[in-house]
Every structure is written in structure tokens, then in C-alpha cells.
Amino acid sequence: MSMMNQGRPSSPAAAGPAAPMTYTGNKGLMLEEPLIFESGSVHETGVDLEAVPPHASRLAGLERTAPIGLPGLSEGETVRHFTRLSRQNYGIDLGIFPLGSCTMKHNPRLNEKLARLPGFADIHPLQPQDSVQGALELIHRLAGWLKALTNMPAVAMTPKAGAHGELCGMLAIRAAHEARGDARKVVLVPESAHGTNPATAAFCGYTVEDIPADPRGRVDTDALLARLGAGGGQCDVAAVMITNPNTCGLFEPDLKRIADAVHAAGAYVYCDGANFNAIVGRVRPGDLGVDAMHINLHKTFSTPHGGGGPGSGPVVFSAALAPFAPLPFVVEENGKFHLVEEETATAEHHELSFGRLAAFHGQMGMFVRALAYIMSHGADGLRQVAEDAVLNANYILRSLEDAMSAPFAHTGPCMHEALFDDAFLKDSGLSTLDIAKAMIDEGFHPMTMYFPLVVHGAMLIEPTETEGKQRLDQFIGAMRSLAEAAKAGETDRFLTAPHFAPRSRLDETRAARQPVLAWLPSLPPRLAAE
């Protein structure tokens, strides 16, 4: 999902009381915490190490002499520092985290435990393959599930997140075109697409063209088909990147038709699978004509987001693209597992592979978690996941559409997320941002703001299936009360929100204008001069 990039600039409103009431600045259990550079010292340490045995240095005089400036803290103070910091954060563990397009579902603790088994966490990617058979088998099994759930014949496990998966998919498409000497340069991307879609297409050398949305929040199929045919005989479109369910939380009913046309034009369909949670176990993208799709294990398959990562974005491929999939990958032969790498690719009939995407074999830690999640749900449970996710989103949509404004609600049910816009705030003097900040006071994480771009002041709410009815009802009640207050003109309360968070609104303009990106006791002249 995406950060706010329009709407009210998030610079502070009228300043509140600056001096804290307490000597320490703490307020009960809401604790202030200095930077380690202020509290630590380069002489302190929180580790004990064996004594260094005498030895003659082999560093050819390259020893570091100047101080580095890395403060240390005792173990106790380290635990305290990061515990106190953690308490200034919101997480799924605290409550509903309805960030649309992010699928913030419960992260099972079993998966954390299993990912830490030494047999998974404490093995080296370059160990002899005989010594890591269990790890290779695990990757192979997860790959099998992903292929079956999507009805696609191949999967690349190495991409490190969704955007990396997009890159993987688009590179396969380029490789496929190049293999037949066809140097197409255009990729069509719907307006409503996530920023990584156009960024990825550009990153691997394509020209990006927008496709508009139709009034029902779907891709404008006619415009798309027209553009495909536009080049006359030889189509210059390499691929269409489409998100399904799309970022308005809606299913693209024409996808199959589009895919057929794309294929007829000699192009490929890349599907952004970030929203796979809505359909897992109920719909297989392979049945819709998709050629490549990344699956965010850190969304659909619940590996924790960890404040921004790590992710894992395996990409499933159609038969047409499978030969171009990247190295390395795992193959089973008579119950033994081995990696196909550069060395063996040709022998293994994989000479068309576009090559290696990154060092080593992918996000193993995430694979363990995702497989545990998948086994815990099974085919029946995953289907239920999609159903409950969609049910929850529709429950929110129908419970809030009268109090807020839902631009596409009239078109029928939504999928896993409910999209609202800021029409209901018209004349209130309030923006989507103000609603979000007031939600913080209520103890919720705000929804995704100002994304997708196809509606004004978007508020994209994705509850996920792990929210129960009671939590949803409380959330709905709070949202209704906020909407009513906003419409009733209680402007001040919103403009100065949040009131109860560890910080009030932060001055983002200042942060960008005078960037301070590292701690400095005082700015040294060189930096200050710039």
C-alpha cells in the first residue's frame, strides 16, 4: 500500500502545551526515550566476549584507527531502550490494523517458533546440498502449494518482496519477447495500480502507459482493448500489469477476456497478486489467463510485516513464461532435492532462464512461516480465509456506506477491502488525513489514505479475516461516531488529532526541506553548508 501523497500537508496545527507536566517528560506508562547516541557511550557494552588471543595482524596496516562513534548500552539498558520504543508503536497485536492493500492479518506465533528452529535458521545457503535436504524439501513443498493454489505450472521462489516479484515477472516477459526477437517497449498499467507497478516496468526498461478506470472502479476494458489493437499489425505492447482484485477492492470481471486479447496481441498478462487474500482457495489466477503473478507471503500468507519487511514475493508463471523463470530453483528427483543453479541450468533444460535475481535462494525464514500457515489452514481453511476476508469487508462497507461515502458501493459487493472517498467530508473543512488522525485517538490504526488515486481522498479499509465481529462492530461504531462528529462540524477535535498518541502531528515538510537523516551532536560545517 501507499503513503499519503495528497490532501492536507501533515505539518503541525496550532501548537499545544510544549512543557511536559512531569519532570521526566514521561506520562505514566507512556515513556520518553532518548536516542542511543544520547544515552549510550562508546565505552559501554552489553556483550561479554572471549579474550583475544595473541596474534600477528594480517591486515596490512589497514586497521581502523579513528573512533567510529558507536555507542553501546548494557544488556539491561538495551532491553529497556527497545522495549520503551516498541511501546510507541501500534501493531496487529494491539488491535485492528485496517490498512487497505496490506492484508494486516494475525501473525501466528507457531510460525515464529518454527522459523527459529536451528535446522532452518542456522543453516548456510552454501552448505553442501546433501546437508540441507530438509530445507530444500520445504521450499519445494511450498512451491507446490503456490502452484496448486494458482493453477500455474511454475513458480520462482527467490523474489524478496512484492516489488521484487514484479521485477521477476517483468524480466521473464522481457526475456520471452527477446527470445523471439521481439523488442516491445510498452507496458500498460491501470491508473489505480500500486506505485511499484509503473516503477518496476520502468526499472527494467519499459515505457509505461496508463489505462483509465471505468466509472465502476474497474479497468476500462474498451480502452485497454483499443490500445492493444492501436499499433496496427505489429503490437508494441509487451504486457499489461493488472491487479486483481484491484486496488479499489473490486474483482476485475473482464480479466479473462482481457487476457485472451493480450495473448492474441502477442503480449503477456502480469497480475499484481497483492490482493490474493480475497480469492485464495476460491479462484485460481491461472484459470483467468494470467501469465505471471507475485504472491506476497507477507500478506496473504501472514508472514509478519515487521515494521516494513522482510517480505517474500514468489512469482507463479504460465507455461509460456515458465522457461524464462530465474535461477536458482529446487527440483526433486527420486526423493532427493537439488538446486538448479547457473552451472546446471543447461543440463537441466533451463537454458532460457533470465538468470539470477539476488544472492542465494530466497527468503527461507518467510517460507517456513508461510508453509506453516498454509498447512495450518489447509485447502478448506484457505478457502474460508478468502470468504471471511470478503465477508468482513462487505460488512464494513454496508455498515458505513450511509455514514461515509463509498464511490463504488452501488456496483455490488466488494472483495477483501472497502473503499471510501472524502465526499462525505465536503464542506466540513476536514480531509481524509484528519479522519485518520482521529482514528488514532480511538485506538485504531488508520486505513490506507489517498490510495488508490482514482478516487478523491481515498480511504481504503481492509479488515482481513482475523478480525472478529465484536472488533468490527466496535470499529464500525467508532467510525460512525467520527463521521457524525465530522459532519456535525466538530472540526477542532479533528484538526488537532491525534491527542493521545506519543506524538501529535509531525512536521513532514520540515523533515523534507532540512533533512536530518543521521544523528549529529551538532551539524558539522560540510553538511551545514549544503
Binding site: S57, L59, I68, F360, M366
Partner: protein, 461 residues
């Protein structure tokens, strides 16, 4: 189903509120032929926690865990002792289950540690600023090559033969499509260490050179002074990109910044993260302040709140995909947040004193092991200068030696042939890493295994 809280009654009540007769009514937009009537056949049904645990523990046991064997593998991923408090802290739900800090008022925990992380990385590498992490060292390097292209508007990048071959391959994959030209070196036994003289690289720099990429210590473990190379690159208007795959080395070895680097990329898994069979790891990316607007990835910056209190936010996001879309500096979105937290915690526990101590301990152990192994008849040390990893020439094929040692329970290093397949010259080269985790018994076991293998092979020949 333990993760799904809705009861059958809940579902009924909710469908009623929605006005749908059944859940199928919510999937009406799906074309009929794509609707699956029930669970996908052939896939297992849900399983109890206990059975999932039992099955995955069984798979885990089929691997030789590094901690249970004498272990000497490096080559881009190093095994260090991570204090127990690191893993405890990164499991705090408020860290583990949070998203990218888009709502800074309730994400100061994440934002402050990112600011601390950036500062630590900047100081370690000797640069002004660092970003909030990349996927890993290899993808960070590719991004650095692109950044250098944007900064210099030149199209050719020279890569040293000592750069990790996986990193080179990853860069080649992308550059094949972007049109960036890569000039890569090939390790050779004519050199000692088996990487080209830096002087050779200097000769190759020209007016189309955007950057020179060197790894230090390099893939054979060799440590070099890059000062002159930096000067030579700068003289031709090119940048110096330094790759560091073993971040612990920076506790003892002069920083890339001190040697004149313009961009430093690296792999941070040594601190806090662990081996993880290769992922998730932690990409480090640092540069000087003047280049920051061409940097990829997220940046956290300091600011104030409406009440004048210090706080932190993500900033300079006009470089990023969610604002700039096809004009972004990179397509990266999700990065390695939790791994940067682990790194920051471990680094905080170490502090400068601990880091220097740790680095010295690594170096001292490595010196001891190098001497012990080089004393085996037929074994030759190829890297006179190294930090905690070095290359040996064996009298036998290294690849088989590694496999044989594993059979004997010793994970004795990586063969150059695994890293650079097809280079017949390197067939007998073994790369050995030695960290503080190696005990005296481990060393004995390695020496014994290698001696025995060499003996066996000899007699077999």
C-alpha cells in the same frame, strides 16, 4: 480453525446485514467458469498446530544446523553469536506486527530505531547517510550501479573480480535489460590473491565509466587499500562503490568512507540476523549527503511535532515509487525492516568497544586457523592479507573435499568451484571463514578432516 474468529452465527448475522443470501453472492464478479465449487482437490485439509509443528520439525532435523557442527562457511553469509536479547526484542508484537511507519504518531518506535540504524550504518561505513535498508547486499549493489548511472549519466560500470559472484550475476540479470554495461573481472590463479590487481582496474576506467565496484574484504577474503583506486576513479569523474559482505570487518578495518568511497553497499546479516539459509538478510546502503536525492529506498528523518517535541518521519519520499511511480529511483517498497532492528539492537549491545573486540577476536581466530591449515602438507594460503576469511589451494578438488568433510560432520568452507563454476583454474581453491563461534575443538576437527581427506585422495590417486 484457530485463526478465524467468526462463528457460524456471526457469519449469518453479517450476511443478513449485508443483504446477501450466501457467501457466494459476494463473489458474483468472478466469471462462473473460474469459481471453484469447493476446496482445491489434492491439497491437504487444515492440520492441528501440534502436527504442523511435528512435521516441520522433522524437516528441520534433516538439515545439518551450523551450531551443531564445526562450521567454517562464509562467502557472503557469516555465522556470529547473536545475543539472546536480540531475538527477544524483535518479537515484541509492536515491532513484529507493525507495518511500514506511514502513521508516524503511532510508529515512533520503528522510526526512532530506523534513525538509529541509519546513523550506525553511516558511521560504520564512514559515510554521511544510510537508508532504512534494502533487501540484501546483492540487490543493494545493483541499485548502487543504477544510482551511479543516474548521478554520472554514464553507462559502464567496472566490477572487480573479487565481487561476490552471486552479486555479479544479479547485476548482470538486470543490466542485460536496462542496457547498463558491466565490465566484469574473472578471478585467476595467476594473481595472489586470485583477484586482479587494483591497478588493472584503474587502467580500465574511462570517460564512460560511471563507477568502479570493489568488494572489501573480497570474495577470497583479501583485504585491500582502496584509497588510490578511489582517487583514480574520481579523477576520471567516476564513482567508487564499495561492497562489504562481512560487516563485522568494519570493526577493525578502515571504513570505505575513509578510503574515498562514494557509495557503500553491504550485507548486514552478520549482526543480529543470522544465516537463515540465505534470507531474510539485510541490505545496507550508504552514501554522502550530496547524493541523497538519488538514493533508492526509504529514509527516516528527524522533525518536530505540533507541540514542538522531537519526532521522526519517513522523508524525501519524492524519490519513491508510491509518489513518483515510473520516475522513482527504485521500485523497492517493503524492505528489511525487522532485520534492521535486529542489526541495531546487536550493534547497540556491542557498542564500539564490543564491535572492535569482536572483530579482533574474529581476526585472531582466523589467523590461527589459516596457520594451522597452511601447515598441512600440500595446502597453500592464497590470501596474505585477510580479516576472517581466507582462500587456500588444496592438493585435491575442493568441491569434493567440502562434500567429504560434510560426511565427516565438518562444514569446512566453500569451494571456489561452487561460486565460480566452470573456472577450472580455481578447482582446488577452498574458501574458509572463521568467526568467534569457532572453538578449539572445531579447529581440531577441521584440521583432522582436511588432513584425512588430502591423505585419502593422495593414496587414491
Amino acid at each position: 480453525m484457530r485463526y478465524l474468529p467468526l462463528t457460524t452465527e456471526d457469519r449469518q448475522a453479517m450476511l443478513a446485514r449485508i443483504g446477501a443470501a450466501s457467501i457466494d453472492d459476494l463473489f458474483v464478479d468472478v466469471p462462473a467458469e473460474a469459481r471453484l465449487p469447493g476446496p482445491i482437490p489434492g491439497l491437504a485439509p487444515h492440520q492441528p498446530e501440534m502436527l504442523v509443528e511435528r512435521e516441520l520439525a522433522r524437516l528441520a532435523k534433516k538439515n545439518m544446523a551450523a551450531g551443531e557442527h564445526p562450521f567454517f562457511i562464509g562467502a557472503g553469509a557469516y555465522r556470529h553469536h547473536v545475543p539472546a536479547s536480540v531475538d527477544h526484542l524483535i518479537q515484541r508484537g509492536e515491532f513484529l506486527t507493525s507495518y511500514t511507519p506511514y502513521q508516524p504518531e503511532i510508529a515512533q518506535g520503528t522510526l526512532q530505531y530506523l534513525f538509529e540504524f541509519q546513523t550506525q550504518v553511516a558511521r560504520l561505513t564512514g559515510m554521511d547517510v544510510a537508508n532504512a535498508s534494502m533487501y540484501d547486499g546483492s540487490t543493494a549493489m545493483t541499485e548502487a550501479i543504477f544510482m551511479a548511472r543516474r548521478l554520472t549519466r554514464r553507462g559502464t560500470t567496472i566490477l572487480s573480480a573479487g565481487v561476490h559472484p552471486h552479486y555479479v550475476k544479479a547485476a548482470e540479470t538486470l543490466c542485460r535489460f536496462t542496457g547498463d554495461k558491466l565490465v566484469t573481472g574473472i578471478p585467476t590463479m595467476c594473481c595472489n590473491p586470485p583477484t586482479e590487481d587494483l591497478a588493472d582496474i584503474v587502467d580500465r576506467i574511462d570517460n564512460d565509466t560511471s563507477a568502479v565496484v570493489v568488494q572489501n574484504p573480497d570474495s577470497f577474503g583479501h583485504v585491500a587499500d582502496l584509497t588510490e583506486l578511489a582517487a583514480a576513479a574520481h579523477a576520471k569523474g567516476a564513482l567508487l562503490i564499495v561492497v562489504v559482505t562481512e560487516v563485522v570487518s568494519l570493526g577493525l578495518v578502515k571504513s570505505p568512507g575513509e578510503m574515498g568511497a562514494d557509495i557503500v553497499v553491504g550485507e548486514g546479516q552478520s549482526l543480529g540476523v543470522g544465516l537463515q539459509f540465505g534470507g531474510p538478510h539485510l541490505g545496507l546502503f550508504a552514501c554522502n549527503q550530496k547524493h541523497v536525492r538519488q538514493m533508492p529506498g526509504r529514509l527516516c528523518g528527524e522533525t518536530v511535532d505540533a507541540d514542538g517535541r522531537r519526532g521522526f518521519v519517513l522523508t524525501l519520499s519524492t524519490r519513491e515509487q508510491h509518489i513518483r511511480r515510473e520516475k522513482a529511483t527504485s521500485n523497492i517498497c517493503t524492505n528489511s525492516g525487522l532485520m534492521s532492528l535486529a542489526f541495531t539492537i546487536h550493534m547497540t549491545l556491542l557498542g564500539e568497544t564490543g564491535l572492535r573486540h569482536l572483530a579482533e577476536l574474529n581476526h585472531a581466530r582466523a589467523c590461527e586457523v589459516a596457520d594451522r591449515l597452511a601447515a598441512i602438507s600440500g595446502v597453500r594460503l592464497l590470501t596474505p592479507n585477510f580479516f576472517n576469511e581466507f582462500a587456500l589451494e588444496l592438493p585435491v578438488a575442493a568441491r569434493q573435499a567440502v562434500r567429504d568433510m560434510a560426511e565427516m560432520g565438518v562444514l569446512g568452507g566453500v569451494s571456489a568451484a561452487r561460486l565460480w563454476p566452470g573456472l577450472a583454474e580455481l578447482e582446488q581453491v577452498l574458501i574458509v571463514a572463521v568467526t568467534e563461534t569457532v572453538s578449539a575443538t572445531d579447529i581440531d576437527a577441521l584440521v583432522r578432516a582436511l588432513t584425512e581427506i588430502i591423505g585419502t585422495e593422495y593414496s587414491g590417486a
